[in-house]
């Protein structure tokens, strides 16, 4: 009985953390709640006998992908005014309508799900089984995933590099014009460099 209640606790934590993450104004606060939600889902994976998936969830989702978000939010340097703007965008009039309609659809989905019966298997699906199947029947999917990751790598390199190059060029040009005119203060040059 205790073990089953573990599942319900983890599920509640995941849901509450996700709802809080979706309604925060500050992006970093939302990100922390999102990480908690991912950790709770990893606990659920452990409980339903998928320890390998749980480890991947923590290492890749909560580790690598969330760190990417943190890096980008740090680079954007949003600050207080961004928070105020987010709060202004988050008025209930914006989301009340879509929420109501989605709740109706969700009630239908609940009705369908409630007809599913049977518990999940108590046996663990080990990493060895997963690996054997992954490089056996699913080897083509592995190749496709590697192509997708390569495309993602090239795409993000292209997008990020152009942004950085132009920022540097703009900052250089601004610094040059300011040093020529000698009329502006250093603080403006600092702002431009940022």
């Amino acid at each position: 009985m205790l073990e089953i209640s573990l599942f319900y606790i983890a599920a509640t934590v995941a849901l509450v953390a996700t709802i809080l993450a979706m309604t925060r104004a500050n992006a970093i606060h939302a990100l922390i709640y999102l990480i908690v939600s991912l950790l709770a889902v990893a606990v659920i994976f452990f409980l339903i006998g998928a320890p390998f998936a749980a480890a991947l969830e923590i290492v890749i989702y909560a580790g690598a992908i969330m760190v990417l978000f943190v890096f980008v939010i740090m680079m954007l340097n949003l600050g207080e005014e961004g928070d105020a703007r987010e709060k202004q965008w988050l008025s209930p009039a914006v989301w009340a309508g879509p929420t109501l309609l989605a709740v109706i659809l969700f009630a239908e989905l609940l009705y369908i799900i409630s007809s599913v019966e049977g518990p999940v298997s108590t046996a663990q699906v080990t990493a060895k089984q997963v690996g054997l199947t992954l490089f056996g029947p699913y080897v083509l999917a592995v190749e496709i995933a590697s192509m997708l990751l390569l495309a993602g790598l090239v795409g993000s390199y292209h997008l990020g590099r152009r942004a950085l190059d132009r920022n540097i060029h703009e900052a250089d040009a601004r610094a040059l014009s300011e040093s020529n005119s000698n009329s502006t203060s250093d603080s403006n040059a600092d702002k431009g460099a940022q």
Partner: protein, 104 residues
């Protein structure tokens, strides 16, 4: 972990609730960073459904689809955050409504 009898329908319920929260976030936020986070939540909830179904039948296939979803999420986030940097630089704002015209 023997003796656990979590009903499959309850895990699917949690998964669909997470998906619904993610989709609501997708609809009600205009900040592109929150839109990307909502996409992550939705992908994660479908992964939970796959792993639960794999555990239900005791097959490793669910976890393999989970790994494929993981790689899709990683690629999507890398490109999406590159776009975030471009949008912030070009419009000085993360409001997606600014980027509704693809005039280049």
């Amino acid at each position: 972990m023997d003796g656990l009898n979590i009903p499959l329908s309850h895990i699917l319920l949690v998964s669909s609730l997470l998906f619904a929260v993610g989709m609501l976030g997708l609809m009600m936020r205009r900040n592109i960073i929150f839109i990307l986070m909502s996409l992550e939540v939705m992908l994660n909830s479908t992964a939970l459904a796959f792993v639960a179904a794999g555990a239900h039948w005791g097959q490793p296939d669910g976890q393999i689809v989970f790994m494929l979803i993981l790689s899709v999420a990683a690629a999507e986030v890398a490109v999406g955050l590159g776009l975030v940097l471009q949008i912030q630089r070009r419009f000085k704002s993360l409001d997606m409504d600014n980027a509704n015209r693809m005039q280049g």
